[in-house]
């Protein structure tokens, strides 16, 4: 637990919604450069776990320590912390009232990280990387789902985050668009980005993950390398889950 390279440490995380305990005393850490893929049946708490990491959900108890700072502490400026943690959502959540360029540059400019020119240059560089430079002045409503999600990834990257959190990034996409988004994520992984990905794409998990986490009933039931998890599952729950999704 005291791994010096741990970028995110989770200590005794508990999250309850009313009487319902969604996360039950989870402790773990994500190291710098590590790609963790979180799988599990729906309602198992995997998305809640991810959303606790940047405090979109406030833990009922327990600590989240990001890069040496306890972000669950009242004294921590959570905005400052979130600027270093990118997040990609299932439903993209692009800002429909802004152009693609504005979507990407808004946060870097508003948080004082860059001026508008620098942000524009950064946006264009990133858009070019995902092959969407020609969409810079389009509005999100004119884009396909796959394009929207690639823009959402770029929007998060524009803040130069230390970690990227993906919350089922391909679940709302038409099947033929899943590939283009996964490719961007793979490139990101190859570049050494620290990533935590909640997904149902087992192929992606096998290929990209350093570690696969199987979350069920609010705990990390089993974890290990993709080979451990997919080829030698130990717990009955995981075997049952894999038989359904593979």
């Amino acid at each position: 637990m005291t791994d010096a390279k741990a970028l995110i440490r989770v200590e005794h995380l508990v999250k309850k919604f009313g009487e319902n305990t969604v996360l039950n005393d989870i402790s773990d850490h994500i190291s710098e450069g590590e790609k963790v893929v979180i799988i599990g049946p729906s309602g198992s708490g995997k998305s809640t776990f991810l959303r606790c990491l940047n405090l979109l959900e406030i833990p009922t108890s327990g600590k989240i320590i990001f890069d040496g700072t306890d972000i669950t502490s009242e004294k921590t400026d959570i905005n400052q912390m979130r600027q270093q943690m990118g997040m990609v959502f299932q439903h993209f959540n692009l800002f429909p009232n802004k152009t693609v360029r504005k979507n990407i540059t808004l946060a870097p400019v508003r948080t004082g990280r860059m001026n508008q020119e620098e942000a524009n240059a950064e946006a264009e560089k990133l858009l070019d990387r995902v092959g969407l430079l020609d969409k810079a002045d389009a509005y999100p409503s004119s884009l396909s789902g796959g394009q929207k999600q690639r823009i959402a990834i770029v929007r998060a990257l524009a803040m130069h985050p230390k970690v990227m959190l993906f919350d089922e990034p391909t679940s709302a996409l038409d099947p033929e668009m899943v590939g283009e988004v996964l490719n961007v994520m793979k490139e990101l992984a190859d570049d050494g980005m620290t990533m935590a990905v909640v997904t149902h794409e087992m192929g992606f998990a096998r290929e990209v993950a350093d570690r696969v986490m199987f979350v069920a009933d609010g705990i990390i039931m089993e974890q290990g390398t993709p080979d451990d998890i997919f080829n030698h599952p130990k717990s009955g729950r995981l075997q049952e889950f894999l038989s359904k999704v593979l």
């Binding site: 905005n79 912390m81 600027q83 943690m85 990118g86 802004k98 946060a107 948080t111 389009a138 409503s141």
Partner: protein, 239 residues
């Protein structure tokens, strides 16, 4: 029959033409416009403030609401309850004869009274607009490290305003018609002009029907303009 029409003509002449009285209607209309615009400005500013405080309060997790916000929220709730629970006319009378009894600035008093009244209704309209925006928008903004107010100002409110434009348009029209009430504090608005002329000529029909038509025409023009604005805003969605 000819006598009847001659009578109507005479009434019309007395009510509108004699002594250049039509100019007084225009002056009255101008006062009504000024009061409407002033009250609208105050109403929207107040409305946004109250709406933001109330949604901010409601969106906090239970037990995590700070004391200052709690007090602000209570003030806002009292404000909307009192304003929406008492007649506009009574509010005007209190403003004119109690709070600003010694003030000569009737236009200012009228603007303040109507603006404060309008703010309560506008705040509820804006609140519904804010709540109509997908919570994912706030989450996305916050996940990028922007503060609550920045996300509100740059992302949530602009989208909310687009959604509530028809309701805000209605409020503007109501506000314009409600300016006829400022007559009770002695301000010479369009309605007051008609009453003054009626007192001079002893003719009620022409001045009152006349101003009714004037209010109607203005409202129809406003409706038309709002329709254009709405269509234009919707077009930007489909780009």
């Amino acid at each position: 029959m000819a006598e009847f029409w001659a009578g109507v003509g005479e009434d019309f002449y007395q009510s509108f033409v004699e002594a250049d009285r039509w100019k007084r209607y225009l002056d009255g209309l101008r006062v009504s416009f000024i009061v409407t615009l002033g009250a609208l400005a105050i109403g929207i500013v107040l409305g946004i403030l109250v709406a933001v405080v109330r949604t901010m309060h409601d969106q906090q997790k239970i037990g995590k609401v700070s004391g200052g916000l709690k007090i602000l929220n209570v003030i806002c709730e009292i404000y909307t309850t009192v304003i929406r629970g008492t007649p506009m006319m009574v509010q005007l009378l209190i403003m004119g004869f109690v709070i600003f009894a010694s003030s000569r600035n009737l236009v200012g008093t009228a603007i303040l009274a109507l603006g404060i009244n309008s703010g309560a209704y506008v705040s509820e309209i804006i609140r519904s607009g804010i709540m109509s925006i997908d919570p994912g928008q706030m989450e996305a903004g916050r996940s990028l490290g922007m503060g609550y107010t920045t996300v509100m100002k740059d992302i949530i409110i602009p989208q909310a305003v687009k959604n509530i434009l028809p309701a805000l348009g209605n409020e503007l029209i109501t506000l314009f018609k409600d300016t006829s009430l400022v007559t009770v504090i002695g301000l010479t608005d369009l309605t007051k002009v008609a009453l003054q002329i009626q007192a001079k000529t002893y003719q009620a029909f022409m001045p009152l029907i006349g101003i009714a038509l004037m209010y109607l025409v203005v409202v129809m023009i406003l409706t038309w303009l709002l329709g254009i604005l709405e269509r234009r805003m919707r077009k930007s969605d489909r780009r």
